[in-house]
């Protein structure tokens, strides 16, 4: 019996791969979600009204059934017993496993500011939360989004589409601070503002104001009150490691795994947003929390669980998104240090930047024209040496040009 806790990108990928490798063995997926495996990336567009919920389903109940994967929906796991190799659900049910995969993902962080317990404060992580936001947005006039990361920015734009007056509050001095540099950030910010979203950057939330009956009515920033009746918290996520920690599995910022996605317990694996792996550029532990990484980890974990040896190659930060009509790809270390050779290409609203160190690509940033970004991204992942010239930052720099060098 294989048990997988979590039905997100990693969990679903693992479940399907296990079935692909072994047609007979029982597979059970346990998840707190009641909605079947859906694309979390769609949530802001669902909020905007661009897509319907049903559009975001990636694998339905029927599809899980026909793959003979048992899904326990809406069920919480309360504990794991590595010695006896079983798990306990909140309902009291115990299920035994040969191999267990922890794909519990992460949860949005609600920062501990005063007033964070008010109603009308939402995170954007689950389909249910999206429904709540849509309901709240129907009667709200203005919203504040805390955090100018990928989710925060997309949600802010979605709410603007719904007709709300939106302000994004970000404590760092630019939007998408981890994915973009200052120049790129400015390019995107211009577009975002043209869509009607206001930006309050380099600003921290001091306090959340609420009405006497506990409804949010404003945010206090820089000593001033920003009135709103809807708040979105998008300041980051935290890996759901509690189950593992309680079970005595080695946990840092995420569940620590080796190159086989195996935890400190031999029969227990971890994959996806909950897993802590190594970043190829820094050599440091990192919890990547991105979709392609989660899928890859799920596949690797599944293969090892099924007895097929597979090794995860250290990856790098990988982000792609479209914000306010501008495509963005950000890979690896896009700032570099003072000695790095930084090559840029800037023409109109197309900005591309390649950070080179000792003839190896360390970081890639493309805004506006993202063609062939994957070629450069792969060079980051593989840390391949390249003979390069300014051409490497141009949108037409292709795989053939790389081969010819």
């Amino acid at each position: 019996m294989y048990i997988i806790i979590g039905q997100g990108a990693a969990g679903a990928a693992a479940a399907n791969e296990l079935r692909h490798l072994n047609p007979a063995v029982p597979i059970t997926v346990v998840t707190e979600e009641v909605d079947y495996f859906y694309s979390r990336i769609d949530l802001p567009d669902i909020i905007a009204g661009k897509y319907d919920e049903s559009d975001s389903v990636l694998q339905s109940a029927e599809q899980f059934n026909s793959a003979r994967i048992t899904c326990k929906m809406g069920q919480r796991v309360v504990s794991i017993d590595p010695k006896h190799k079983d798990i306990e659900l909140a309902s009291g049910e115990r299920i035994a496993y040969n191999k267990l995969l922890l794909a519990t993902g992460s949860t949005p962080v609600i920062p501990p500011v005063e007033g964070a317990n008010a109603t009308g404060i939402h995170a954007v992580w689950t389909l249910q939360q999206a429904r709540n936001i849509i309901a709240a947005a129907n009667s709200a006039k203005s919203a504040v989004v805390v955090g100018a990361g990928l989710i925060g920015m997309k949600t802010a734009l979605a709410l603007a589409v719904r007709g709300l007056s939106v302000t994004v509050v970000e404590k760092l001095p630019r939007i998408l601070p981890r994915q973009l540099d200052e120049l790129a950030s400015g390019l995107i910010a211009t577009q975002v503002q043209e869509k009607g979203v206001k930006l309050a950057l380099g600003t921290s939330v001091e306090r959340i104001e609420q009405t006497p009956d506990g409804k949010v009515c404003g945010i206090r920033v820089d000593g001033q009150n920003l009135a709103c009746d809807l708040v979105i918290m998008a300041v980051g996520v935290r890996a759901n490691v509690e189950l593992a920690r309680t079970a005595g599995i080695n946990v840092e910022r995420g569940i620590v795994v080796n190159e086989f996605m195996q935890t400190s317990e031999e029969s227990i694996f971890a994959a996806g947003d909950v897993a802590e792996v190594v970043d190829t550029l820094s050599g440091l532990p990192v919890v990547p929390a991105i979709w392609p990484e989660a899928v890859e980890q799920g596949l690797i974990a599944a293969r090892n669980m099924a007895g097929v040896k597979a090794i995860r190659i250290d990856g790098a930060a990988l982000n792609s998104v479209e914000i306010a009509g501008m495509p963005i790809v950000s890979i690896g270390d896009i700032e570099g240090n003072a000695n790095d050779d930084v090559i840029t290409f800037h023409k109109g609203s197309c900005y591309r930047k390649v950070v080179m160190r000792d003839r190896v690509v360390r970081g890639v940033l493309c805004v506006g024209d993202i063609r062939h970004a994957g070629v450069l991204g792969n060079l980051v992942l593989r840390q391949t040496e390249v003979e390069y010239s300014e051409r490497i930052a141009q949108p037409t720099f292709s795989f053939a040009d790389f081969m010819a060098m």
């Binding site: 800037h346 023409k347 003979e387 051409r391 010819a404």
Partner: protein, 478 residues
Amino acid sequence: MKEIRKKSADAAVNKLIVKAHRSQTDLAWDRADAMQPQCGFGRIGICCTDCYEGPCRVNPFDENEQYSICGRNQQDLTAGFFLKKAVSGAAALVNLAEEFGAVTEKVVLKSVLQNSDTMVAPTDYTKRYAEIGDTVVQALSAINGIKGREQSSVTAANLGVLQANSINILLHGHIPPRVTSLLTAAAMKQSDPVNLIGMCGGEASGSTPLPVVTNYDSQETPLLSGAVDLLVVGDQCVMPAVITLAGRMGVAVVGASTLTDSEAADQALLKAAAGFTRRAGKVVDIPDYKIEMAVSGHASFAPTLTALAKGYAKGVVNGIVYLGGCGSIVNTQDAAIVKLAKNLSEDGYFVVTAGCAGVALAKANMCQAGASEVWKAVLPEEVSPVLYVGSCHDAGEFLLIARAAADQGLPVFAIMPEITHSKPLATAIGFLAQGITTYVEISEAAYVPAITLQGQLLPLSEWGHLPQALAETAAAAK
């Protein structure tokens, strides 16, 4: 491209390339990069666009021979491609001669016209090329008749010939000497100093050679200095990009053909002066590279010839080589021709050069009496072992030199390693018609049957083989 090749070997040009990069100004090199890969069919001359049933291109990899729609095979196509270029170059030279004031025999004009027919299935290449060669020789001689170099002089090359405190007028392309004279006269009426400089045929125009600011592929760079006050454009060799760039930078452009009289020339000077005024107080970016160069011709060649003949008899001198051509954007500008010239010079060949190739050698400091002790011992005092005779349309000087040299029994060759425009190609055919063995780096040349004429046209595939090949040809000639 395994190594990243430098765009230019010219340090001055490179400075302005960097400036262009910073201001995001596209230059020819950027456009060439964006053009990669270039179509191989056109590159090796197996594509025809002569008629509207085309274009026709044949598969060079097929085991079976492929024919174009009207029945041309690969050889026919490459031969036709080459022939058209040769004819177009001959026409261009005849045009120049006419423009410069020569009176071309109608029969010469007709000959060029006849050779312009595209659909005529050529049956006799030898006859065709002989006609083209003769036409070219006549045109070059006519040009020489109008502006042959009477005496030697000294001028300078490279971007440093621009002067921050003068009105800089850049004569670009092949401009008739009378136009240069009109401008010179108009210039003298100015209170501010006027600096007439040239490039791509505009230099060495008129009786006194103008300083030459750069050569073909870098023709956009002088504008980047910000110091050009008027651009006068002649025929041919003017990239449309230069005119566009001048427009963007607010530099006035005047067609040389519009300068028909002194009034027009005065108007042009007014524009130039206005440009100069507009940039008063602004800092200009003139790279500090200015190399002295000697300019001479057949008229002053006798003492040198005597010295060379002596040296040949002693076995110190091996012959005379003409180095011409334009440069090619896919190679590092100037690098190859300079290296070739140095090797040939070290091997005992006296070099005669002209055009953009000549400008490259001048920029590399070669067109001066140099450091070579060996050559100092051979040549008359202050005579450079590399003789710059003017623009590529001044190749007539070399024809005269070659004849004189042949009379003295000196072996004579020509090498055009990087041809871009058809004039030097046609010039090569003209050389052939005069019995001068010529090497061009154009592969189609290998495809043209019976192109021997009196001389030989040889594709320059392996430069490493060149010394041996020259030696063999010289030995055969003895």
